[in-house]
């Protein structure tokens, strides 16, 4: 699918409800089906508390997956994000433990900036290795995944890195557990990040370039798009999103270990694809991605709340639900 067509369908969609883009709506249809299923399984499921819990904890994968939407739309893949979460979070906690700034509030501000810079640099490294080094993104980020994970294990000596200062913990805690006007902070962050990402992807020149590069890099190059720069920036956006996820992750448990973020890269990629973005690149659906991340978290939640599913079968049923969700989407799209 090419950019202009994509833009056109969006315009049409605004003009008339009869021409709704089913491909964009499909993930939400799957989500509604899941919500109905969940309500049948356990009446507590549909409670506001439970849904808020699930949305809140889907924040890490959702925000990482927004970054992944850019990388995947531009035709690349980033496998290092799970390890990057662990690495950036460990660095951030070590920085806060170092106590270079005495005032807790100032220290926290510095730590937030530090994490954002660290995440962006990790993303930049991935981007440069892929574009300047001309290494397949799959292999390049598999390599950096090992590096980030290994460095985390080394920093923690295999154990855990824990935030020591109780004063810092106290002022930082609301970043995950607090709420703004009754909405948990992580949900507000998801919405804010998604709005910004949607604006960049759909409304800016850079966003159109991402999709163009993902559809056909050669054509994009001949049309004068700086392909490598576009791809590298997508990796930096991914790094930035990882850093934002870290900012929410650290206040939750106040510690990291060598197992933090294991397999999160696969969850993020699954969220992106369930949300309707093609793995081969060339089309990005930011709101679909958020929906995908929420679906993944809901599936686990429904399994756990049900009384009749053996704990040994959870993995198999999760896999089935994801495939069924994809089939539902596919059938909707065909009808259009």
């Amino acid at each position: 699918m090419d950019t202009s067509v994509n833009e056109e369908t969006r315009d049409v969609r605004r003009r008339s409800w009869r021409d709704i883009d089913l491909r964009a709506v499909a993930p939400f249809a799957a989500l509604i089906l899941l919500l109905i299923l969940g309500a049948l399984v356990n009446p507590n499921f549909i409670g506001l508390n439970n849904l808020a819990n699930v949305a809140t904890r889907s924040a890490f994968i959702a925000i990482i997956a927004i970054g992944a939407t850019f990388v995947i739309s531009s035709g690349d893949l980033d496998l290092s994000v799970g390890a990057m979460v662990a690495f950036v979070a460990s660095l951030m906690i070590l920085f806060m433990n170092s106590g270079v700034i005495a005032d807790p509030a100032l220290m926290l501000t510095a730590a937030v900036l530090f994490a954002v810079v660290a995440g962006s640099l990790c993303g930049l490294a991935n981007g440069l290795i892929t574009t300047v080094g001309r290494i397949e993104p799959f292999i390049a980020t598999l390599g950096t995944m090992g590096i980030y994970r290994g460095l985390t294990t080394w920093l923690s000596q295999g154990g855990a890195i824990t935030l020591k200062d109780p004063a810092l913990q106290e002022i930082y805690r609301p970043a995950y557990f607090g709420s703004i006007l009754g909405v948990p902070v992580p949900i507000v962050v998801i919405l804010a990040v998604t709005c910004v990402a949607a604006f960049i992807l759909y409304r800016t020149r850079y966003g159109r370039h991402v999709v163009a590069v993902g559809s056909n890099a050669d054509v994009a190059r001949y049309s004068g798009i700086p392909v490598n720069r576009v791809r590298t920036i997508a990796f930096v956006i991914q790094g930035l999103c990882v850093a934002i996820a870290v900012l929410l992750y650290v206040p939750r448990l106040g510690s990291t270990s060598a197992t933090t973020g294991i397999l999160w890269e696969l969850q993020a990629i699954t969220a992106v694809v369930v949300g309707g973005t093609a793995l081969k690149g060339g089309a990005g659906r930011v709101w679909g991605t958020i929906c995908g991340a929420f679906i993944l978290e809901l599936v686990g939640n429904i399994m756990l709340l049900s009384n009749f599913i053996s704990e040994y079968l959870i993995g198999a049923i999760q896999g089935t639900i994801i495939i069924v969700a994809m089939l539902v989407q596919r059938s909707l799209v065909r009808k259009s």
Partner: protein, 317 residues
């Protein structure tokens, strides 16, 4: 790398001292092969192997202990071979995966070397493979927790967070069921938390949604307890009386020591057991006492009174 240098330095120092004491002290070299520190428990193993090795070498000037860590079974097999070529009198090994390593271990044993296996036993675990087997007690870890819950809260409604679907996890579950047998303790649910803090947080959050009243949580692992406590705290639920974890990490032992209401006890599955094997192997050479056989370490109940015996503030775990 730091460990490697430390080990090398220790070897050099020992080489010098052993020359000095050549006449008075018997010379013994022991190789220790353990998994690399990739999560909390194994990082404790590495810490205690090095701690006990240092302690023993200062007690016995003729003794040389070489500690090697390996990330996977294949490289551990190589490490065992390397140790063998350096000429060792004894091998203390905590295999990352015992069965693939059996041949490498047998090779060493065949040369007349004393072999001690720690924690993870191969399917054929007799004196053709090893002289000494020091084992943690997985069924007892569950049973001790179960018996404590039965004694403290005989009518408790308990939710359980399991580890991964592997045999040792099943042994712990069976032990727990044996522990609560004949009481009114009711198990509401068992789900897997993958021995991971974040997953345990999620499972606990869902338990709290699913059950309006929970008395006790048994999560059998100190790492998972971190997530469980956070989830309970967030939900502001006051019905949960306490959480029983296990292993013996410094954070949880500290909570027990400080009399934390939510963590009144911990059940031991100590990474320090590698030190037990090392001490017993050394006793075989210097004390000339019989140590061959199977030594099973109790899953000791850590309470406020004895917690300080199991507290290692310097350990990463």
């Amino acid at each position: 790398m730091r460990k490697g240098l430390l080990g090398a330095a220790a070897v050099a120092v020992m080489a010098l001292t052993s020359v000095a004491h050549a006449q008075e002290e018997k010379k013994v070299t022991i190789g220790v092969s353990i998994p690399a520190a990739d999560h909390g428990w194994t990082s404790g193993v590495v810490f205690h192997a090095e701690r006990v090795a240092k302690l023993l070498m200062s007690q016995h000037p003729g003794l040389n202990v070489i500690v090697k860590t390996s990330p996977d079974p294949a490289s551990q097999a190589n490490a065992v071979q390397d140790l063998e070529t350096q000429g060792i009198d004894a091998l203390v090994i905590l295999p990352s995966d015992p069965d693939p390593l059996v041949n490498a271990i047998k090779e060493v044993k065949g040369k007349g070397t004393f072999v001690a296996i720690v924690d993870r036993a191969p399917s054929v675990n007799d004196n053709t493979v090893r002289d000494l087997y020091v084992a943690g007690n997985n069924p007892a870890l569950g049973q001790t927790a179960g018996e404590y819950i039965k004694a403290t809260t005989p009518d408790a409604e308990v939710v359980i967070i399991r580890g991964l679907p592997i045999p040792i996890d099943q042994q712990r579950q069976d032990g727990f069921d044996k522990g609560i047998e004949g009481s009114n303790v009711k198990v509401l649910d068992r789900q897997f938390g993958n021995w991971n803090r974040d997953d345990a947080f999620k499972v606990m959050q869902d338990y709290l949604t699913k059950y309006p009243k929970i008395d006790v949580v048994w999560c059998q692992d100190d790492d998972m307890a971190v997530g469980v406590l956070q989830a309970i705290d967030q939900a502001k639920r006051t019905d949960i009386q306490y959480v029983v974890a296990g292993a013996g990490s410094k954070d949880m032992i500290k909570k027990v020591m400080d009399g934390d209401k939510m963590i009144p006890v911990d059940v031991l599955y100590p990474p320090a057991m590698v030190g037990t094997a090392l001490e017993m192997t050394v006793a075989n050479f210097y004390g000339q006492v019989p140590v061959r056989g199977v030594y099973t370490i109790d899953a000791t109940l850590v309470t406020k009174d004895n917690a300080k015996d199991f507290y290692f503030p310097d350990s990463p775990f």
